[in-house]
Amino acid sequence: MSHDSHNHSHGHDHSHGGHELPFWRKYIFSTDHKVIGLQYGITAVFFLLFGFSLMLLMRWQLAFPKQAIPLIGKLFTEDGVLSPELYNQFGAMHGTIMVFLGVVPLAVGAFGNYLVPLQVGAHDMAFPKLNMMSYWVYFVGGIVMLLSFMTPTGAAASGWTSYPPLSVVNGPGEGFWGGLFTGQSMWLLGMVFLITSSLLGSVNTIVTAIQLRVKGLSFMRWPVLVWAQVTTAFLLLLAFPPLEAAGIMQLMDRVGGTSFFMPSGLVVSGEAWKASGGGNPILWQHLFWFLAHPEVYVLILPAVGIVGEIIAVNTKKPLYGYKTLVYSVLFLGFMSFIVWAHHMFMTGMGVTMSTFFQATTMIISVPSVIILTTYLLTLWGASIRYTVPMLFATAFLPMFAIGGLTGLPLGLTASDIHLHDTYYVIGHFHYVVAPGTLFALMAGVYHWYPKISGRFMSDTLGKIHFWLSVIAINGVFMPMFFMGMAGVSRRLYDQTVYAHGLAAQPLNVIMSVSAWILAIAQLPFLYNMATSWKWGKKAESNNPWGATTLEWAASSPPPHENFTTPVEVYRAPYEYSSNKKLLPQFVQEA
């Protein structure tokens, strides 16, 4: 690996010769995958907090409808009450920001970028400049999304799914430029940037993981995290282009007078809609969900990878059924392309179509159960070390199980009739993404922090963060299943308008209070992350957890080009030595 030719092609070797790169080349427009990974991570955490804050405000309105938000309400509206306009904007932007600007950039952009080259023993990504471009295109996309709040009509307000015709008729604006400078148009423009960024990143991950493998690292010796990231990259690469095209088409519907998604004969607010018509709003839903269902697996697979690594290290034994696990991840990735229409059961679907999509949906539960089972079986006969990352990784298992299981009544069309578009759905996917993926990502932060900074995060603060979060987050999402059962629709500004909504309203108060506690629970985490960088306990060695994968062969933090001495892989990722201890991949047993 050390003789890999590409490293000599982009002139970074000069940095070894004494003259340092200037600050802006080293930390701003860097091509080093570790710096880019951190840039992704910091930006994504900012957006996660921003998207979370939007929800914290919305939760006031949901718990105490039409009462003024205390202290800060006057910042948003004159009387301090969150208006339905702002509520819809915050709702749409909460979803968009959490998914496309928060979780995916953190899971793929940060963890994938930082760890995949290290775990395959590469000196950097295969295309470092493409990598830099990927980050900056993402950054621009994020700025466009933020700026959309400044437009005269405010940000996008048609949900994160942006279903036409609503998304086309919402605040259309005057003329081409007026139409472009509206929240909904800027949302579409921002999405085009974000999708482009994902495409650039995914190409890089695939090529790096396959082409830059160090000597001895056959595919079946890849750590689970690499398998998960590569599968994710394929999903990004194949599923995202349709929505990129669809996004531009919807933008044209808004500003160019086309009607790809606009049917004939629309009458909006008593006025005939001025467009040729003949389009089909369902086409958008197909294109959107063709992206957005694989997207769900883009959210969950990197988490599966991270949890696998952490469980292997902290149970101090090999992962059970590594091969089964790998094939399950691949099968999951493949199946995720043919389940998308289960999001559209209520659009009017015949028996044949609905049976096909509910069958594929049931089939996709099989590899999910296998993944969960292999992790659970790994615990048998282990010696479990309860580090903070391990606490989060263990909590991931039952939380992901709840998220997965509650997908069943939604995936079966008949039970979906009642549960579709209710809070049950919100509870279901939040269990997958919040206490599922986000817990795994937090586990990852605690676990790799010593590698990234050379110092540990505080254990005490970590445990406070964990216990408060795990209790509060269930307080937020568990009541949603009951609310959904009661038939309360999602995205309602004030559910007490309805009799069944009023009856379920006390649950909203529980959820809101839990959400605010959850927010407070993140303060020790943020403080811990910031202060441990300088004042954390020093990691005594390059491999303080006794892990087996290649990133732990590099020094902490790894230098530019990662490995100062040549590395080689001698065995599969989770094997043990003759003295019954886990043995790193990079150590040749004497």
């Binding site: 919402n170 089972t373 010696s383």
Partner: protein, 264 residues
């Protein structure tokens, strides 16, 4: 008519097909509960039994091979397949595909718009008058052409769907502007209303009472306010209401010549 009781679980069901859906929801949740409790107990046991402690070593031999999970996995596949083949798919076919004959049912048009429902009865001739976009105004939300012979006796009922009990109802659902969703929680009915399409659905109420129509698809700033009402009445009450509506539309003369009672 007593008020329906709502709480933290399924609302009461008053439709002929709803019991099947409720049973499926219960069955799936029992299945989920068994799996989750099983996994949970195993997990808690492992977390305690295999914790790191002095004198306890991890078993890394890799010899452990578990047979049971394979059978659990097969069991899960079989149960899911049964739920799909014997319950979900047939129920879906009955609810969404096996429509009653129009001659035996009451057919109404429901048109959704921001942020109201327009219920359109075809009148005694059983035929809907033509809808013309250019006729839409504040008093005529769907643009019904009263000059069309079929449209003369049509009844328009904004936001109120009145139906007789124990009678099959066919709704022809569409939308004027954006996508809405026609959701009757107590009826276990939910269907997107999509502009440019007319989608039929049917149901039959088994009890009288006053209930709500909810919009279940984000349709704009007034989404929450898009509440409609539906009253399930006895046939006599329904006829009385219908005759009243008709009288106010056509005057006494028209109703006197027509037989009262069944309308198609």
């Amino acid at each position: 008519m007593e008020q329906p009781k709502y709480g933290f679980w399924l609302p009461p069901n008053i439709s002929t097909h709803g019991a099947e859906i409720d049973n499926l929801i219960s069955a799936v949740h029992w299945f989920m509960a068994v799996l989750f409790i099983g996994w949970g107990l195993y997990l808690v046991y492992c977390l305690f039994k295999f914790r790191e402690r002095p004198g306890h070593e991890a078993d890394v031999t890799g010899n452990a091979h578990f047979i049971l999970p394979k059978y659990i996995e097969i069991g899960i596949i079989v149960i899911e397949a049964c739920l799909l083949i014997f319950f979900s798919a047939p129920i879906w076919a009955r609810v969404k595909q096996d429509f009653p004959k129009e001659s035996e049912a009451l057919v109404v048009k429901v048109t959704a718009e921001q942020f109201a429902w327009t219920i359109h009865y075809p009148g005694r001739d059983g035929k809907f008058g033509q809808l013309k976009n250019e006729l839409i105004d504040g008093t005529n939300p769907t643009g019904l052409d009263r000059n069309d012979p079929n449209g003369v006796d049509d009844i328009i009922s904004p936001n109120f769907l009145n139906i007789p009990v124990n009678k099959k109802i066919i709704v022809q659902l569409s939308a004027k502007d954006v996508i809405h969703n026609f959701f009757l929680p107590v009826m276990r009915v939910k269907q997107d209303a999509i502009p440019g399409m007319t989608i039929p659905l049917w149901f039959e109420a088994t009890q009288t009472g006053k209930f709500e129509i909810a919009c279940a698809q984000l349709c704009g700033v007034g989404h929450t306010q898009m509440r409609g009402f539906f009253n399930v009445m006895t046939q006599e009450e329904y006829d009385a209401w219908y005759n009243e509506e008709e009288k106010s539309l056509l005057g006494d003369a028209a109703t006197a010549t027509e037989p009262t009672g069944e309308n198609k």
